[in-house]
C-alpha cells in the first residue's frame, strides 16, 4: 500500500476551482515532485495534504489513516512534515532552537531535543550556524532551516514547497543532493517546484504535473518532460507543435 494516497480531491475557493479531481500516490522512500506553472495549485495541494485546508471532495489517506478532516498539528503527529514556500522561521530564536521545536515532537526533554537537532543540522551542513538567531540568516540557510525543522519531527513524508526557489543554481543542486539522501532517514518526500527542472531531473523518482488545478501528466522525469500537454502548459500551445517536429 502506498504511503500517501490522494484520491479524487477537489478544492474550491469561492469562484476558483484550485484543485480539480486530482489523484496520485507516493510510496515509501520515494521522491515525488509536483511541478506546474505558477498558479497550478501546488501550494494548495500541499496545504490539503498537511490538513491546513480540507478537500471539498475526495479523500487523502496517509499510512492507512484518512486525513481528510484532521488538524495540521495532527497531520504532523502522524508523520507529515512540511516546509513553507515563504519561509517561516522563528526569527527571535536561534537556529538550534528552531530545529529543536521540531525535535520536541518526540521528546519532552530540551537536552534530548537539542541533541537530535544537532544531528539534523549536521546532516544539512548547518551546525556551524547553530547559535545564530534565525533573523540574521540569508535565504539559502533559511530554506535549509525549514527542512531541518521538518526533518527533526521524524516524519515519514516531507512536503517541500518550492524548497529551491530563489536559490542560485549551485546551491539548489547542492541542496538537491542532500534531499536525495532523505530516504536514508526513512523519509519519503514530495516536492513542489515551478521551474528549477534541473533539480527535478536529478532528484525525482516520479513527477506529477499540475496545470490549473488538474493533473495532466504523471511518470518518471524523462517520460513527463517530453509530453506535449506538459510542454503546452509551460510554454504555450505553439511550442507543442515544435516538439513534434
Amino acid at each position: 500500500m502506498a504511503l500517501l494516497e490522494v484520491k479524487n480531491i477537489s478544492k474550491r475557493f469561492g469562484g476558483l476551482l484550485a484543485i480539480n479531481d486530482v489523484s496520485f500516490s507516493v510510496g515509501e522512500k520515494e521522491m515525488a515532485f509536483v511541478v506546474g506553472p505558477n498558479g497550478a495549485g501546488k501550494t494548495t495541494l500541499f496545504n490539503l495534504i498537511c490538513s491546513v485546508f480540507h478537500p471539498d471532495r475526495g479523500s487523502i489517506v496517509f499510512n492507512g489513516n484518512d486525513i481528510s478532516t484532521i488538524s495540521p498539528d495532527r497531520a504532523a503527529k502522524l508523520g507529515i512534515g512540511r516546509t513553507f514556500q515563504i519561509v517561516k522561521p522563528l526569527r527571535n530564536l536561534t537556529v538550534l532552537e528552531n530545529v529543536m521545536l521540531g525535535a520536541f515532537l518526540h521528546t519532552s526533554s530540551p537536552a534530548k531535543a537539542a541533541a537530535e537537532a544537532v544531528k539534523v543540522l549536521k546532516f544539512l551542513e548547518m551546525d556551524s550556524a547553530m547559535h545564530f538567531p534565525a533573523r540574521g540568516l540569508g535565504l539559502p540557510m533559511l530554506k535549509r532551516l525549514e527542512i531541518a525543522r521538518a526533518i527533526a519531527t521524524q516524519p515519514k513524508l516531507i512536503l517541500l514547497d518550492e524548497v529551491v526557489a530563489g536559490l542560485p543554481t549551485s546551491e539548489a543542486l547542492r541542496l538537491a543532493g542532500l534531499l536525495k539522501r532523505l530516504p536514508e532517514w526513512g523519509i519519503s518526500a514530495v516536492g513542489g517546484v515551478e521551474h528549477v527542472m534541473q533539480v527535478v531531473m536529478k532528484v525525482a523518482d516520479r513527477v506529477i504535473v499540475l496545470d490549473h488545478g488538474s493533473l495532466i501528466a504523471e511518470g518518471t522525469p524523462q517520460e513527463v518532460v517530453h509530453r506535449p500537454e506538459v510542454i503546452e502548459a509551460y510554454l504555450g500551445a505553439k511550442y507543442r507543435k515544435l516538439i513534434h517536429e
Binding site: 498539528d73 522563528l90 530564536l93 521545536l101 515532537l105 530540551p110
Partner: protein, 338 residues
Amino acid sequence: MSGAAKKKWEAITIVAFFVAALLVPVVVRADYTLQVLFRVFLFAALGLAWNLVGGYTGQLSLGHAAYFGVGAYGLALFSKLGAPNIVAVLLSMVVAILFATLIGAVSFRLRGPYFALSTIAFAEVLRLVAKNLPNVTGGDVGIQVPLLFTHASIISFYLSAVLLTAAVLGITVWIVRSRLGYYLMAIREDEDTAMSVGVNATKYKLIALLLSSAFTALGGALYASLFLYIVPDQVLSMDISSEVAIVAMLGGAGTLIGPLVGSLILESSAEVFKNIFQEAHLLIYGVLIMLVVLFLPKGIVGTLMQKLRFFKSPPQAPFAAKPPGELNNEPERAAIGE
C-alpha cells in the same frame, strides 16, 4: 562568563532579592509603606501570571480582571457558604480555571485584536453580572470578605504577596526551561509554523491561560481579604485588567523579570504621583505609558536586554557567533536560555 556560571549568578541574585524582600518588614515599620509594597508585589505577581499567556504565548488578554474578580468573589461567597478560608481560596482558583477554559475556548479561536476584545467582553459580562445580582453578590453595595490571616496586619499580606510573586516567578522559570516554554514561544512567534511541527496551538494556549488564571485568582483573593469588603467595579473592572497588562508590557512582556521590574517602577511611581500631583496622577501615569511605548517598545527589561546583551533572551537574541570551542561543550545550555 560561561553559561552555567551565569545561570548560577542569576539564581543567586533572584533568591537574594526575595530574601531581602521578606526581611523588609523588619526594617520598615510604617503601615503606609508596607501597603504600597504590598501593591507592588501583588501586581508583580499578577503581571508575572499575565506574562505566561500575554508575554510568552503572545496572547494579549485584556480581561484578566475576570480571574482576579473570581478569586475575590470566590473567597467571599464560598466562605459565606461556610467553607474555611483555605478551601474557599482553592475553590475560587478552581472556578477561575473553569472560567478560563470557557473564555479560552471561545477567545483562542480569534487572533490579534479580536482575541483581546473577546477577553474584554467576558470580563465585562462578569462585572455586570456581579453588579446586577445583588441577592447573590451584593451588587454595587458589595460583599464582605473574610480575613485570611489570624492577625489583621499588613505584614502578613505583604509577605504573602512576596511569596506569591516568588511562586509565579518560579513556575515561569520552570516553564521557560521546558518543552512547554518552547511551544508557547513558538506559538507566539508563528502559530502556523508551530502547528506544522505538531503543536496543538489551542491546547497549549489553554494550558498557559489556566495556569495564569489560577494565580491571578489567588492574587484576587489576597487583595480582597486586605480590604475585607469588595464591590464589582473594584475587582472586575477594566482598570485592573489594563493595569496588569501594562505592568507586564512596560516591564517587558516575554521576559522573566520584566513584570517584576514593571510593577516596581509603575506602582511606586503611581503612588509617588498620587502624593505629589494628587489630582493629576493618572495623567502622569498616561504620559509615562506613552513615553515607554515610544522609546522602550520592548518594555524596560526587554530593551535593556537588547542593549546590554547580558543575558540571552528569546525575545531578542543578540547576533553573536560563539567561538567553535564553546560550541562543542554546550549544545544544551545554549539552546535553553532565558
